[in-house]
Each structure stands twice: as C-alpha cells, then as structure tokens.
C-alpha cells in the first residue's frame, strides 16, 4: 500500500465512519433543529468521503471506486481513527466526539489546502469550509451544555473523560505521515497538536469543563492494526446490501 493511498484512506474513512455514526441520529435528536443540523453534518461528511475515497481509488490505480472502497473492504482495511468509530452514546457524547474531531479536521484541512498535490489541496479547500461550520456548531454546543445545568455539565464532563484516551492517536506520526510530510503533501500530525490544544482549551474553559489529565492513548485505528469491536458492527450494517447482492447497480 503506498503512503499516499493509505493517507487518502485515513481521510476518507474518518469522514465515512463519523458520517455514518452521525446519521444514526436521524429522527431521534433532542429537538428538530438538531435533527436538521445532524443530518446536515452527516451529509457533508459523506460528501467528503466521496472526494477522499474517489481520489484514493484513482491513486491506487486498480479501478476501485469510492463505493468499492466504502462497501467492500473489511475491518482491517479501514484506516479511520478509533475516536470516530466510538458509539454515539448520548447527545452530549456525540457532540463532544464531533468537537474533538472537528477541531482536528479544521486545523488539518487548513494545512492541506497548501498541499503540493493539487488534488488534495482542492478537496481540502472545499471540505475546510464545511469543517469550519461544523466546528463552530460543535464548539458552541459543548460550551452551552458544559455551562448549562448541573446535569448537562456532568454529562459533558463524562463524555470528555471517556473520549480523551482516543485523542492521542490523532497526533501520532508514523512512516506514512513522515513520507507525505517530506514531499510537502500533508503535515505531520504531531505538528498540529499545539493549534488543536489552543482551540480545545479555550472552549473547555468557557464550557467550565475540567481538562483531563494524563496522555494515555489507545491506538490502532489509523494503522488498521487494532480497531475497536464497534467497527465490525457498523460495517455489517453499512455494507449489507452490497455484500448480499454483489454486482447489483443501485
């Protein structure tokens, strides 16, 4: 697997898996405005998936489409962060996960807009506008619920504490990122941590949430070495029609 292909899978799989998770909320949100916003976020993420996985298939050169990559790979081929495959939990948990991801996505896409690969720069430019809007919304929701009632505060703190061990993986460098950074295609993840920390700390302070201590990190998502048990169930549902009726056109 080339480093560029693997990087594009990471981008596409993050958007795909998170988009799927967010879409699970359809019709079940706390208020109609949130139903609309969640569907809109999921829609943007699926759109980003089409762009990243479309380019991945092109780079791979084996004639696989974005749909082939989304619907016909198994768990060990997926390269998304563990963070995005975590189950939704309550609404606060979903929004905290979204905030932690959006803050990374925006910082990352901003850098990718200057990629030496024009195709990547073009996708980053478009996706970056959406990510900025997603971050504004998830940040404001985290702040409001953190600084809301005693119950909403407690739930947001619990969500933050539960998700924190999935933050470290986002910023780990490896041979894939080293190679892309050397070619000016994508930044090293570790180099984005300071900008991410600044955004997150500012929001958590306003939300009156306690910044978790410790830097223990679960890893294995973006390398594909060890996903959580949850991803298999997500794929079972997502890929069912394509697997049950191979070769059909939908």
């Amino acid at each position: 697997m080339s480093a560029l292909f693997e990087f594009l899978l990471r981008q596409g799989d993050n958007a795909l898996v998170l988009g799927h998770r967010v879409s699970e909320w359809c019709g079940h949100a706390p208020v109609l405005e949130e139903d609309i916003a969640l569907a809109n976020t999921a829609l943007d993420l699926i759109g980003q998936t089409q762009m990243w996985l479309g380019l991945a298939g092109e780079v791979e050169g084996k004639g696989r489409s974005a749909d082939d990559l989304a619907f016909l790979r198994d768990v060990w081929d997926f390269r998304n962060l563990l963070l995005v495959e975590r189950p939704n939990g309550d609404f606060g948990h979903t929004m905290m996960r979204q905030f932690l991801f959006d803050a990374f996505n925006l910082v990352h896409l901003t850098e990718l807009a200057n990629s030496t690969d024009d195709r990547i720069a073009a996708i980053a430019e478009k996706a970056g506008k959406e990510a900025a809007y997603h971050l504004e919304r998830s940040r404001n929701t985290v702040v409001a619920l953190g600084d809301g009632t005693e119950e909403s505060h407690a739930r947001m703190q619990a969500a933050l504490d539960a998700l924190w061990p999935y933050v470290g993986e986002i910023f780990e460098n490896d041979s894939v990122s080293d190679e892309l950074a050397a070619d000016g295609i994508a930044p090293e993840p570790a180099s984005l941590r300071a900008a991410w920390d600044a955004r997150v700390q500012e929001a958590l302070a306003e939300a009156t949430l306690r910044h978790p201590e410790g830097d223990f990190a679960h890893r294995g998502g973006k390398t594909g070495v060890m996903h959580t048990e949850h991803l298999g169930h997500l794929l079972t549902q997502m890929q069912w029609l394509q697997r049950a009726y191979p070769g059909a056109t939908w």
Partner: protein
Amino acid sequence: MYAQMVKSTGKGVKTPEEMTPEERAFQARIDAGEKIEPKDWMPEGYRQTLIRQIGQHAHSEVVGQLPEGNWITRAPTLERKAILLAKVQDEAGHGLYLYCAAETLGVSRDELIDLLHEGRMKYSSIFNYPTLNWADIGAIGWLVDGAAIMNQVALQRTSYGPYARAMIRICKEESFHQRQGYDIMMKMAFGTPEQKEMAQDALNRFWYPALMMFGPSDRDSVHSAQSMAWGIKTMTNDEGRQRFVDQTVPQAEYLGLTIPDPDLKWNEERGHYDFTDPDWSEFFAVINGNGPCNADRMAARRKAWQDGAWVREGLLEHARKKAARRQAAE
C-alpha cells in the same frame, strides 16, 4: 396527503343567514380568493381546524423521518446515502416551517408536540407502515411523496396565508424527493431479478396505504365540507385520489411493475382509471393506533423527546446565564 380526517366544527356549513355579520364578511373574503393573515379576524372554528391540520401536517414530517431513517445506515451507495440524508433533512425543515405556521395561530410548538406524545394529535397513517427492503425508500419517494405533492400543490392555494406560503417552499423540495424515489425504482425495476422482486414487493405493500393518504371517501368525510367552504381544503379526497391513480398507473407500466389491483382499468367514458378502494377498515385501524408501526413510531418519538430533555434544559440554562452575565456587565 399529510393531514387526514382533520376535524372541523362537525356542525356542517352555516348558511349566509345563520352567519353573524363578521362571519359573513369573512366568508366573502374567502370566496373572493383573499388570503387570511394571522392578525385578521377569523372564526374560532377556522382557527382550530387550521391548528389541527397544520399540526398534523408538521407531525407527519417529523414522524416521517423514522421510516426513511431506518435505511440511512444501510443505503447501498455513498450517493444514495447522501441523497437520503438530504431528503430527510428537508423533511425536518418542513416540520419546522409548519410548526412556525401553526404558531401564528396562537399555539406553541411544544404544546403541539405534547399533544402528539399524549396521542391527542395524529400524523399521516402512511408512516405507520414499515420499510422492509431498499425499494421501499424508492416507493416512498415515488408514491408517498407523489401523493403528498398532489395535495400540497393544491394547498398552495389554501386560504390561510402562512400555510399557503409554507406549501410553496415545500413543494419545490418535494418534487426533487419524488424524482429521487422514481430513480431508485428504475434502478431496482431494471436491475437484477432480486432487485425487481424488491421493487414489486414495495409496490404491493405501499399501493393501498398511499391511496389512503387522501383520507376517506368524500361521502364519509364529515369535516371536508366545512374545510372546503373555508378554502382550507381546495380539492376533495376522491378528486386527489383519482388524480394520483391516473398519474401513477403509466409510471408503474413503464417500470414493468404490476399494481396490486386486478380491477384496475382505463375507463374511456370517464377518461379516468377505475380502481379498487383501499380497505377502509384497515385505514381506521391504523388511524386509531393499530397500524403495524404505530406503537414503535410513538415510542421512538417519546424516547427522543425524553432523552433530549436534559439537552433542551441545558441549552436554555446556558442562554439564561449568558443573558444574566451580559446584564451584569452593563
């Protein structure tokens, strides 16, 4: 139609002699095709009928997310998933405009939602049927949105201004919904034998429930006459149903699918298709809570509302704190 069996006054239409001078003047405005606006005088029966109709229409959009949401996570391609998400998002948006239109009549969204959850307000019978295979998503767009458009196009001329204007906006989006539904049906009907079987199965299950969307036959529809006189309804139930059948039969023929009605045939003399009425006892069972999914749909909506209570309270509390801090700073 997304509003069925909407109760009006239940007393029959008043003759001009029975009307007060205010009622006569109001009726004259309706008859002249004028739009009634929120601050205008209106009979209490007109206001209550509209609250029931618009509220039921709004609830239908919200509950209608559930049968389609049932397939979002199983949509077979990224494009289909994106289109379905866009559609469901539109529907939630329609719910929002309609609740806003109802609010102009002096009832809040929360009150209407409470009435729904207490089982004192209804939503369209169609959403009490399950979505069992992927072609159902096509059939919903093709048949259910097709039937809804037919009624909503007529409602663009309804006498209450805010409702008519909401309909104009909604109709633009609905025609996209119907097209995407028919597009799914074409892929399925012209696809593999299994896909064609799914398409036929979906049509078999959704045909009669779609016909029921227009409400009971005119002869059994006791509240329609008043709603027609007030210009709230602009087309009778049977007119809508006939128009729907006439439009849909050639589309089914193009797909090579069979409408599950052995007595369906073109009537040269009438210039319309003759068709079998739905089983009205089934319709009344569904309306009264005994459809295949009534209990599940209501349980899902109540759970979403209850589980979300802490979120709504949290957001409100934060807004209060922010306002207090702003005031303290001034």
